[in-house]
Subunit: 161 residues, 2 copies
């Protein structure tokens, strides 16, 4: 089981133009006290991902991910998900030696654009691009599990770029 160490930012502009992308659909079959269980489909592949909770004042958490059959994932999203399905397009771009993902949300989270960078440790230094205009790492509303039942449109007024 690996550690996921991740920072999150709101995005301005369209830094992802011409970047490689994939369409993602994901849902949650658990958001219990100690873990979330996520089902994700991208094109013709699917994964089941278990993530521990992020401790207070940290941005690291346990993560295990397993490739699963696409049919299983479709059934889980249709019949076992405990909240709305999240749809988004994920772009991958390079900036100053690091890979960033930019998620452009659709559906109930339309208008939300989140950039994420995964780091090898919490004290790794990285250059923050201008388009990553506001950090939201510690705001739990921006976790995808939260966005699946408390979507962006319900609190976007607080974040005008």
């Amino acid at each position: 089981m690996a550690l996921e160490i991740e920072k999150k930012f709101l995005v301005k502009g369209k830094p992802w133009l011409n970047a490689p992308s994939q369409d993602l659909r994901q849902g949650y079959i658990s958001k219990e006290a100690k873990a979330t269980v996520r089902v994700r489909i991208a094109q013709n592949q699917a994964w089941l991902t278990i993530k521990g909770k992020t401790p207070d004042n940290s941005f690291s958490r346990l993560e295990c991910e397993y490739n699963i059959p696409l049919d299983d994932a479709e059934t889980m999203l249709t019949q076992l998900a405990c909240s709305d399905i999240i749809s988004k397009t994920r772009y991958t771009i390079q900036h100053a030696g690091f890979e960033w993902t930019i998620d452009v949300f659709e559906g109930v989270n339309d208008g939300l654009i989140l950039a994420e960078i995964e780091l090898p440790s919490e004290d790794t230094l990285f250059e923050r691009p201008d388009w990553a205009y506001q950090e939201v790492t510690f705001d739990h509303r921006f976790s995808n599990s939260s966005l699946s039942n408390f979507p962006w449109k319900q609190f976007s007024d607080e974040f005008k770029s």
Copy 2:
């Protein structure tokens, strides 16, 4: 994703003597409204199992099971389980053309012995052995997810053989 169609019985006597067995440890990282997520370890193997809820008046439910690395499972049981860990020895015996499993529980469920038979359909006929003295298929307290936080010793007085 398969269907699990299963009947459950309390056991009297020791019909499992000399039967092959394995020691199981399992915990739950989710027991949400629509699904349970179980981690099970048997000897040096581990599995993650997603089960849908059983509809009322049915004994069938969706089930997906995936082999996972032992280290991941140990970490999940230690850090992500949302209730007590269940320990039991599972015996496998044949009776009248069907395979039965007999779970002899330990720890907080010490004293409980449950036999299970998996069937290809709800209307499959099978011979119930004498030692399967009381059916508990529809009593949700005998699900392992329930037994992990409401153990046998809290309601065993109702079931004297």
